[in-house]
């Protein structure tokens, strides 16, 4: 954003801020700062984003108000039931807030408003309904005023952004495909590594999601086909994951002449590229005149015969992923045509998502970290309440309200360190306290007060960004305490100042409740859990499938969900590690560790996908003993890593793997020769996929051991003061 645009945006926010205070005070509404909060929070760079956030704020306010009224009706005279119900509400809302990313803000508001209304009038519960109504009305008024200003004064729209964003996304997906083609056919390292391209796609997908929400809020054309855009986003996400699985097997294809094995491979890649170009053209409004061609990826039997068993297995695994990519690009092309109205919308096919088969558990499968976040917010709110009723320090009921709200913020962005917020809170609050003491008593009318509010908000919006901007707005709204019948109390405001600093410190202390919040410690915990889940899932693959109980199915689904979510969590926490404290572990080494975990997840999913549909065929039965030993070996290694992530040195592991591969290769040759034509094609394919799955997991485990060896774990394990 350039300086002129920044000035314009700051003027818009300042103007709306002063105006909502003016209206609320003119009509004598309760707590005018409620409307100010709405303006401060929804002032975003484009009108569409502001409208969307404003809508979510209104939608979340209503259940929050209703919940507060119900809790008060049920437990007005019983403090323990009161806190129990409030904590339960906070727990449920926080869980939804962190697990439903798209509507996260609705649940944030629902939790926050409930706390706000519950203690809006401590002297009597008679005004509670009035408080709830005013909160809703003032929120709506703040949203409407800011929306009108953002639409009529220097409007910045999102119109057209979605086309641009989707075309960029498809272009990068095509780059991923092209990089894979170069590596397989030309044996040439691509200009950008897969990890770089993957990072770029993840950013573009996030941007696409934001643009979709924002443009969907201001354009009827977009909201009309919103479900198709959502499907396009989902297809792109699955495409990226499939490409990751495909790419993770390239090391095993290194010695194989892929052009000889798949004579149609160049034509296959040409077709995929043509589809990507056509999708981009369709999305930007063009009519490419392209129609889908069926592409096959058949083996050359002679070339296949010449391959060793493990190479055959690797080729089988790669073929399956490439066919899935082909299927997904065809789906994306059809979806793009439907969006542009070039194709009639038929019944949408199920997205061919990679990964192990759904175990169809009827019970909900939670994410453990989301449950922890919800427990943290509920516990912080509960302890804050106890501090208030037993000790009643400065801030009084604020210990219940503010601490719960700050805990919500921490739950939303887990790597956020509350300790780093204490100083900014103290500084911004001290500045606003000085304004309250020195400037505000000199003001004599709304013109002067409005100018002050405008100026404060303008400066905050112009100079601050992100969390600093939020804290600046919070200081203005909490410290200036504007009311219709204004009274000044230095004592009260010093107490508010002390309370704000103590409140943030308290949340920081509470963040130790569920383990150290230090990023490196969290990373270690995540790795322990990752290998624990991997070991559990490996242990559930049995030679002879048996009927599983509901509990068993739920545990498998739980660990599968954990496994899928770990790479993103590890990536987020690894970025939060303070590099200056751990000079031995460079960002590149940490990134290599995260990438190796991501690869391991891809390979495990590939393996579980085959293993879960496992019907022991003749070849598998004959090799049961060898495969069982290999399986037990992998399970043991994961078990060791779940206790110590550097337990297996890479050199010893590599030796064991190579010896195991050689031994098994000879055994397979024996068994295949003996079986001859008794094995049908389907059973053979399945056997080689299973073999490829084992090898893939072993190679990925080896890559992890290599990355883990480069890390100085002792430094991360050492205790430090925060």
């Amino acid at each position: 954003m350039n300086k002129i645009t920044k000035v314009k945006e700051a003027i818009k926010t300042g103007l709306a801020f002063a105006l909502v205070f003016g209206i609320a005070m003119q009509f004598g509404w309760m707590n005018p700062y409620w409307a100010g909060w709405a303006v401060a929070v929804i002032s975003l760079p484009t009108a569409g984003e502001s409208i969307r956030k404003g809508m979510y704020r209104i939608v979340g306010t209503i259940p929050g108000c209703l919940a507060a009224l119900v809790i008060h009706a049920l437990a007005a005279q019983d403090r323990w039931l009161f806190i129990l119900l409030t904590c339960a509400w906070m727990f449920g809302n926080t869980y939804l807030m962190v697990s439903r990313q798209k509507v996260s803000y609705v649940w944030t508001m629902s939790a926050y408003v409930c706390l706000m209304i519950l203690l809006s009038d401590l002297d009597s519960s008679a005004n509670m309904f009035e408080s709830a109504v005013f909160r809703t009305v003032e929120t709506v008024m703040g949203v409407v005023i800011y929306t009108l200003i953002s639409v009529f004064l220097w409007p910045r729209t999102n119109l057209g952004a979605i086309k641009k964003s989707s075309a960029e996304l498809v272009a990068t997906l095509n780059d991923v495909c092209r990089a894979g083609r170069d590596e397989l056919l030309v044996r040439q390292s691509p200009e950008s590594s897969f990890a770089q391209l993957q990072g770029k796609v993840v950013q573009q997908l996030a941007r696409f999601g934001q643009v979709l929400q924002a443009e969907g809020s201001e354009s009827y054309e977009v909201s009309e086909v919103r479900h198709l855009w959502d499907r396009f986003q989902e297809l792109s996400t699955v495409w990226l994951e499939t490409a990751g699985r495909w790419q993770s097997g390239f090391a095993e294809l290194d010695r194989i002449n892929m052009r000889a094995v798949f004579p149609e491979l160049p034509a296959f890649f040409d077709e995929l590229e043509a589809r990507s170009t056509a999708i981009s053209e369709v999305l930007t409004g063009g009519s490419p005149g392209y129609s889908l061609h069926e592409v096959h990826l058949e083996f050359d039997p002679a070339a296949l015969q010449r391959l060793a068993s493990f190479d055959h297995a690797a080729v089988e695994v790669a073929r399956r992923e490439m066919l899935r990519l082909e299927e997904l690009t065809a789906e994306m092309f059809e979806c793009a045509r439907e969006i542009q109205g070039q194709a009639a919308g038929g019944e949408a096919k199920a997205i061919p998502a990679p990964g192990p088969r759904d175990r169809a558990t009827r019970l909900p499968v939670p994410d453990w970290d989301h449950v922890r976040s919800a427990a943290f917010v509920a516990a912080t709110t509960g302890v804050g309440f106890l501090i208030w009723i037993f000790f009643d320090p400065p801030g009084h009921s604020g210990w219940f309200q503010l601490t719960g709200t700050v805990a919500l913020m921490v739950a939303l962005v887990p790597p956020l360190r509350t300790s780093r917020l204490i100083a900014p809170v103290a500084i911004t609050s001290a500045i606003c306290l000085a304004i309250y003491v020195l400037i505000m008593p000199q003001l004599s009318g709304f013109l002067e007060l409005g100018s002050l509010l405008f100026l404060c908000m303008f400066l905050v919006c112009y100079f601050l960004d992100g969390m600093a901007r939020f804290l600046g707005s919070m200081a203005i709204l909490n410290m200036l305490q504007i009311q219709n019948e204004q009274v000044y109390s230095f004592y009260a405001m010093v107490n508010v100042f002390l309370f704000l600093v103590m409140g943030f410190t308290f949340v920081f202390v509470m963040s130790y409740l569920l383990g150290s919040p230090r990023p490196e410690k969290t990373l270690l915990r995540l790795l322990d859990r990752f290998f624990g889940s991997a070991q559990f899932l490996m242990s559930r693959i049995e030679p002879q499938p048996r009927r599983q109980s509901d509990w068993e199915r739920w545990r498998i689904a739980f660990h599968q969900r954990q496994l899928r979510s770990f790479p993103d969590k590890l990536a987020a926490w690894s970025k939060a590690i303070d590099r200056s404290l751990f000079p031995d572990n460079t960002p590149e080494q940490i990134q290599a560790l995260v990438t190796s975990v991501q690869t391991l997840v891809y390979r495990l999913n590939q393996f579980l996908e085959v293993g879960s549909t496992h019907e022991a065929d003749r070849l598998t039965r004959e090799l049961q003993g060898d495969i069982g030993t290999w399986h037990a070996g992998i399970e043991t290694i994961f078990g060791k890593w779940s206790r110590n992530p550097e337990a297996e040195p890479v050199a010893a592991l590599q030796q064991r793997l190579e010896a195991g591969l050689r031994r098994l290769e000879n055994r397979i040759e024996d068994v295949v020769n003996r079986a001859g034509s008794d094995v049908n094609q389907e059973a053979g394919t399945h056997f080689f996929r299973l073999l490829g799955g084992y090898r893939g997991v072993s190679e990925a485990a080896l890559a992890y051991a290599g990355a883990a060896q480069a890390i100085n774990w002792t430094q991360w394990r050492e205790e430090r003061f925060s």
């Binding site: 010093v494 050492e718 205790e719 430090r720 003061f721 925060s722």
Partner: protein
């Protein structure tokens, strides 16, 4: 030494001596932990957050005993 608690005044606002001693104690504990981190001595503690709280309490008592009775 006078052991009678004395309130602090800042521009006519009275501050309890425990608050002042507590703030000083926390600052001293912060400074101590900073030094412990710097010389990698923090690794010898089992649970540093608790050590910080204990240090803050100890310093507050020492400050109260030597400088600001509360």
């Amino acid at each position: 030494m006078n052991d009678i608690p004395i309130e602090f005044t800042v521009g006519g606002v009275y501050l309890p001596p425990l608050l002042v001693a507590g703030c000083l104690g926390t600052l001293l504990a912060y400074w101590t932990t900073h030094l412990l981190n710097r010389y990698r001595l923090s690794r010898y503690f089992f649970y540093p957050p608790l050590v910080f709280v204990a240090l803050a309490a100890l310093y507050t008592v020492v400050v109260g005993y030597l400088l600001i009775p509360f």
